[in-house]
Amino acid sequence: MRKALHVVGLFAATALTLGFLVLPLAALFTRQSPVELVHQLSNPVVTDALKLSVVTSAIAQALILLLGTPTAYLVATRRFPGRSLVVTLVELPLVLPPAVAGIGLLVAFGRVGLLGSTFDALGISVAFNRTAVVLAVAFVASPLYLRAAIAAFEALDPNLVAASRTLGAGPVRTFFRVALPLTSAGLAAGAALSLARGLGEFGATIMFAGSLQGVTQTLPLAIYAEFDRDFDVAVTISALFVVITAAILLSLKLSALWRTSQRTSRSLFARLSWS
């Protein structure tokens, strides 16, 4: 009797948890018919925001990969004074409230900020334009990639790097032929997380870049703007968001699955007879 009660309790808790998590997501798709949903996608507010989000995220992600990967490699493979401080600094933006990030970006890069006049002299304007969006996205998203990349490079067997060097490969060739291929799974996971985080970035962007349709209004900002104006459009963008994020998460899981099957398939085929 007590055992039955135990099992029922367990199932009830699970059903409640899953229901709570799934219901809001499902509701986004049930409010309007699929036809209406697809039709709403051609709304200029939606298309402008989608285009802007894709472009700014792509640029921010490219910058994160290009600059973050060598940074993570250096931090992970060298021992230098202040290393743990660097690692902590990298993680700090992760736990900061986005509003703090927005203010920080303003006082650093804004017109009246620390580097404002320098940027002015260089002809770079970060006042409420795409550059500002890219900076905000990169600021909040890059720590996720950096952290994953540092962990991936730290897990790399240093003897493999050493072996490559003694076999005549310089540091650059070693990086591209040994370090990068062996950490690609970890780097991809970090990149996917940072991409998802960057796409959803809201607080820092609205404070630092504003919310101008077609200029700085990314998908999350458009949801917020349409929330007051046309609730159905807000719901549509939200549904679109669920699809995009789910796709990112799913491709990450699938690529991990594909990798493990790649690694083990040969021995698996050797063990099992399929004929």
Binding site: L160, A162, T166, G168, G170
Partner: protein, 342 residues
Amino acid sequence: MADLAADFTLPLRSFELELGLRVDRTVALVGPSGAGKSSVLRALAGLARPSRGRIALGDDVWFDAERRLFRQPDERSVGLVFQEYALFPHLSVRRNVAYGGRARVDEYLERFHIGHLAESSPTELSGGERQRVALARALAREPGLLLLDEPLSSLDAHTRTTVRAELQELLREFALPTILVTHDFDDAAALADEVGVIVQGTLRQLAPPQELVARPADAFVASFTGANLLRGVARRTADALTEVRLETGEAVFSADPGEGAVGVVVYPWEVTLGREPHTDSALNSIVGDVRSVVTVGTRVRVQVGPITAEVTASSAERLEVERGGRVVASFKATGTRLVPLG
């Protein structure tokens, strides 16, 4: 073939590694784990930077502290075989071998009998196969110096014997200056022309293996080569023999001169077993209980009190040696060496 001349100091975590070596054939460095053996290889390969000294292969200077010269690993003509082989798991056997030298890959795959494994992943190979791939990869670069870090330690006992013989043949064939590191004196003696004993970063003795056995420089070298070591205090006697009063209270005699605290070195194969003690001072006797009996092929290793004897199976049978029984272990005064305790 250019010789390796190395003389350097490398600071390690708890002590300094200090080494002077000239290598034209195969040198084995032996010593307990943590003695700094692998660090020697790292310094020679350019993976660690010494604080002092010079490393050169022939006229090619790899490191010179005074000239602030330090050549990177990829600029040294060196082949290093790592202890766990460090094969690239994401590359096939062929691409592993081709990594260092693309020119004669097929030749090396054939030479090391791994041609049939060319397209396999290193993760699918046995220990012996992995070692052959690692050797092929290191040698395909045609290095001027070969470094082997514990080449036999990650193999099981059965594979070990086969691989040791293969390695012996290989070292003879390639005739490169080679340094191998091992914690096993028998492996070192089998593979190398000269054996260096390293303890706490210092080279205690460097000599051909038979010389290390015949004239160990100190107690550590002696025990490392497999000798019995009996601690005691030496005193000169009238008849040109040295009397050593052991810690256990017994007295043994040696033909070697000595004074004060010494170690008496005697090899197991110099010890015979019997039932009755001798009275001749030229023949030492130690009476004791048999603590263990281990048969290795046709030989039997018998531990009697503080000493191990290696006798033939037939003589062990004749004496009815068994655990717990009482026997007399005898060895000649001329069969012993006295070494300083260190």
